[in-house]
Symmetry: C2
Subunit: 319 residues, 2 copies
Amino acid sequence: MANIRDLARMAGVSVSTVSRVLNNHPYVSEEKRTAVLQAIEKSSYHKNINAVNLSRGKTMLMGVVVPYSDHPYFSLMIKGIAKLALDHNYKLVLIQTDYREDRELEALEMLREKQIDSLIICSRTCSMDIVREYAGYGHIVLCENNNDEAVSVTYVNHYRAFYRALTYLYQNGHVKIGYCIGRKTGVNSLQRQAAYRDFVSKYNLGFNEDYIIGDCLYFEDGEKVVNKLREMASPPTALLVTSDQVAAGIVTCCQKLDIAIPGELAIIGFDNQPIAKMMDITTVKIPIEEMGSNLFLQAFNGDKSRKEMQVRLIERGTV
Amino acid sequence: MANIRDLARMAGVSVSTVSRVLNNHPYVSEEKRTAVLQAIEKSSYHKNINAVNLSRGKTMLMGVVVPYSDHPYFSLMIKGIAKLALDHNYKLVLIQTDYREDRELEALEMLREKQIDSLIICSRTCSMDIVREYAGYGHIVLCENNNDEAVSVTYVNHYRAFYRALTYLYQNGHVKIGYCIGRKTGVNSLQRQAAYRDFVSKYNLGFNEDYIIGDCLYFEDGEKVVNKLREMASPPTALLVTSDQVAAGIVTCCQKLDIAIPGELAIIGFDNQPIAKMMDITTVKIPIEEMGSNLFLQAFNGDKSRKEMQVRLIERGTV
DNA sequence: GTAGGGTGTGAAACGCGTTCCAGGTCAACT
DNA sequence: AGTTGACCTGGAACGCGTTTCACACCCTAC
């Protein structure tokens, strides 16, 4: 494989000149440019990007940390990131963590070792202390409401969104309200929990641990949720479901079991994925793809910033 | 930032010795090893992976080309790839093409420029002539039934699978059978079309272009399909749907419209995703995740191989 | 006429870890 | 005593593109 020095020799010019031609720098005579281009042609030369990376100190790769890449929420976010990445000539390195801290650390290590220029953590597991340690090695951006100065963030106010949805259910006559969530820990989940606690306490509804159902990620988890409800002596009459997929699964399962929606069980989904529209599910719209794009821009630009995305309750037929 | 030469100086040893320590090579005295480790500690040294990549000529990155990363079929495949990648210390670079040839070419360029060691193309758009050109730069593996010697492949026999499913519908009394598919071109789609043509011709069922419905990828596309059927003077009584998501969407939509399944419309999905199980949809099981894992291994090992994955019809309630 | 600016070019340093090769030491074996 | 081999170490080349600096030429401007 020819390298840039071979080209220089072939074209009878210096390495610098070849580099200039390769990178379209000005100040190369037409004559030499042609000679270099011919040499490139003849030797079927191609840059070794690793040498470029080493030399330039950047790789045009951005890391993206997600717990599950096959979850619609995250794949939509990735889509938003990918769209902008393409425009800015960046490639994405996908790091799927399954919420394991060691995987997240690996991603941070990649940042430190300069394999990626910056890192987007769509859902964080490891502590902010650790994240902060790595912030000096490249831009880190998070998808959570976080005031840490070392990172940029794009987030939605999950507390407010949750509280709003709960209030809506209350206004519709529900007093036994539960919710389904992916994992129970994590900044976003804790904010939702706080909203829930504040809400039940404000309206004196009584906090019931059983009404919080975890591990709800996919459509098929809806079945599990319905089964849990059926086992309860006093099941909730309404559910906030933090993913439209799961909401759709619940609705589907209820139809099968002749549980009337919203009569016997009201549902509010989250995200406003197409499935919610199709199944006429009331939902809290989260601009996931747009968030992804914003995450990219923050990682790309590098100046520390905070961006709150607006959510909206979309009233449909499940409440 | 300290580099390996700084370390050598600090520890009073040669660069080679430092390298040996860094890479856990044998034949380093305990004394020097300690000195080096101390130097590493003191300088908070970290490898520049780009130098390693340049030197070693590989990056431990594998490219993964998919048309849509948010489609359940591909995200599951990615999951399968990612699982093995993790075991083998590889990271994945995701290239989402939207079936645009230029994006696929970019991925191939990355291979040529040594940014990735090998490339998995989950769904190909560009010609095999082009792919072949790049095969010399690293292992390329495809997810299609392809005899090209330059690449490895993992595939399912879509012709046989489709034919089998069609026959099953025929045996169940259907003579007006249509199918839904993502894109109409592509090796896999053409194989399915061939099966369809052969099937209708064998049983003299008449080939009806309208019975082939394209652009069916997501749950919500089910609605579009049902609408199309309702516009037909003589709609099919059975549909092969090349994605369980879409099949689920169709079933859901039919329930809404009181179209009896399988009475008025029989459905066979593909993939056997959890949603199919939950909604009791008859489907052709494709071991997608396993395929992903196999794709990884082929890319990793590099010896040209061909692996056919077995599919199985799972009889449920929609036929 | 000379100073200054634009244009064009090459040498050399820089980014940095890996690995081959030569050479040295010391104990074990013939 | 001499050879063999395991163990240990360092020098230097290698992978390769980028970029800075110095320099040279030519033309315009004062």
